[in-house]
């Protein structure tokens, strides 16, 4: 293994606690709860609340790259339509609403910017090697881990969190990030590694 995971306990269940971060805290209802209501009850008001929560963040996220505002909004529209249609498959035990929406936005961006497919596993594939049942490393992220993840990101040194955001939010290979920041590629890679190691330390990896 290239190294230990971000946190030994990992994601999940339950509802996103209001006020876990700087985001979603003004929402009277957690993003997870809203998304569940969209999935189960086809609740348009919950959907509109999700839009207000995520569309402005998605816009900032997408515009960090070289995307123009018009294309960013087209992608947001596609993302929100997918959110509406696929909300029934959202499982808060596997990922938070923010993570679920992040993966949709990531995939739409790949589709629009690179016209590529994203190769993905098929969870029902008989050739898939299943998780061992009782290993802590495979556990999903608990709610308190999410809170700690927010805090841990806030505590990263600026040069590391800057590169981390670029790595996630700009559709660029690490080599392009290096060019843009005028850093050697090795420095970018080592700072990203340091950021991940630090996150793991801040999360108090028990492993």
């Amino acid at each position: 293994m290239a190294g230990p995971p971000i946190s030994s306990a990992a994601s999940a269940a339950g509802e996103d606690r209001a006020g876990t971060g700087r985001s979603a805290e003004s929402a009277p209802e957690s993003a997870d709860a809203l998304l569940l209501r969209v999935g189960r009850e086809r609740d348009r008001r919950a959907f509109v609340a999700l839009f207000h929560l995520f569309a402005p963040r998605l816009k900032a996220f997408l515009c960090r790259g070289s995307l123009d505002a018009g294309l960013a909004e087209e992608i947001i529209q596609e993302v929100m339509v997918v959110v509406w249609r696929k909300a029934g498959s959202f499982d808060p035990a596997r990922a938070s609403a923010a993570t679920w929406i992040y993966t949709i936005a990531r995939n739409r961006r790949i589709d629009r910017l690179r016209q590529e497919r994203r190769p993905e596993i098929d969870p029902d594939d008989p050739a898939l090697v299943p998780e061992p049942e009782d290993a802590a490393d495979f556990a999903l992220m608990r709610e308190d881990d999410r809170t700690r993840l927010h805090q841990a990101i806030d505590q990263l040194p600026p040069d590391q969190s800057d590169l981390l955001r670029m790595a996630y939010f700009e559709d660029k290979p690490h080599s392009a990030i290096a060019a843009e920041r005028q850093l050697p590629l090795g420095t970018v890679k080592s700072r990203l590694r340091l950021a991940l190691v630090r996150l793991r330390t801040l999360l108090g990896d028990e492993a």
Binding site: P5, S96, I101, E116, I121, R193
Partner: protein, 229 residues
């Protein structure tokens, strides 16, 4: 059994962030199918992406955006046609090729049309990306299955660029270690190696290279201009 050689974390991060090109993503995702440990790591890296999104600043969106979305969700969802047609299934038992690779290959290992390269080595190209993307966008990246007959040593070589190798069947050894099904290696110009297939069966790998190999043995140097694999 789970693999013991994994993609470096940069690759898993780039996969989770969606910045890995399709060919490299195919090698990583196929490793993920065989490696629950790296699947868990990718889930955590995606959770990190979700957290960064939650923490993102906000940018105002156009007034009409919400209305446009609400109008669109009133429409019936279009039938989603699978891009690749039905997923090929293995006839019986567990397929040797996991998804997503099996769909890219168009079936399991038994249907692969091998082409001989040198004695003891066959290969079969794997088509990645659309026709237009094939040359331009992938910039010389080649994706192929390789079959090395049991006990055969590959010519000693290094790489101009990088090579990702994922073992699918059998195993091989080189100076850096012993590799079995699910094991992933990334080699670059610093590695001059001579992989040798295990003696107990053919070794089949997925190889993603971004530049031709360079033979480094005494005979290899002479052959370089003529060999392309």
């Amino acid at each position: 059994m789970t693999p013991s050689h994994h993609p470096v974390r940069d690759l898993l991060l780039a996969y989770a962030a969606g910045t890995l090109p399709e060919a490299a993503g195919l090698a990583v995702a196929t490793h993920l199918a065989l490696c629950p440990l790296c699947r868990a790591e990718v889930r955590r890296l995606e959770a990190l992406g979700g957290t960064l999104l939650e923490q993102e600043t906000t940018a105002p969106v156009s007034d009409g955006l919400l209305d446009a979305i609400l109008a669109q969700i009133e429409e019936p969802a279009p039938l989603s046609l699978p891009l690749l047609g039905p997923k090929p299934r293995a006839s019986a038992g567990s397929p040797a090729l996991p998804e997503p690779l099996r769909s890219y290959v168009g079936g399991d290992l038994d249907g692969v049309q091998w082409k001989p390269v040198v004695r003891g080595l066959d290969e079969a190209p794997v088509r990645v990306g659309g026709a237009a993307a094939a040359d331009a966008a992938t910039g010389g990246t080649r994706v192929r299955l390789m079959r090395v007959r049991s006990g055969v040593a590959m010519p000693r070589h290094t790489h101009h660029g990088t090579e990702m190798t994922l073992v699918l069947a059998g195993g091989f050894s080189d100076q850096t270690g012993h590799y079995l099904r699910g094991d992933f290696t990334l080699t670059d110009t610093s590695v001059d190696h001579q992989p040798t297939a295990d003696p107990d069966g053919d070794c089949i790998c997925l190889a993603v290279t971004d530049a031709p190999l360079r033979l480094t043995g005494p005979l290899g140097r002479l052959l370089n201009p003529f060999v392309r694999f």
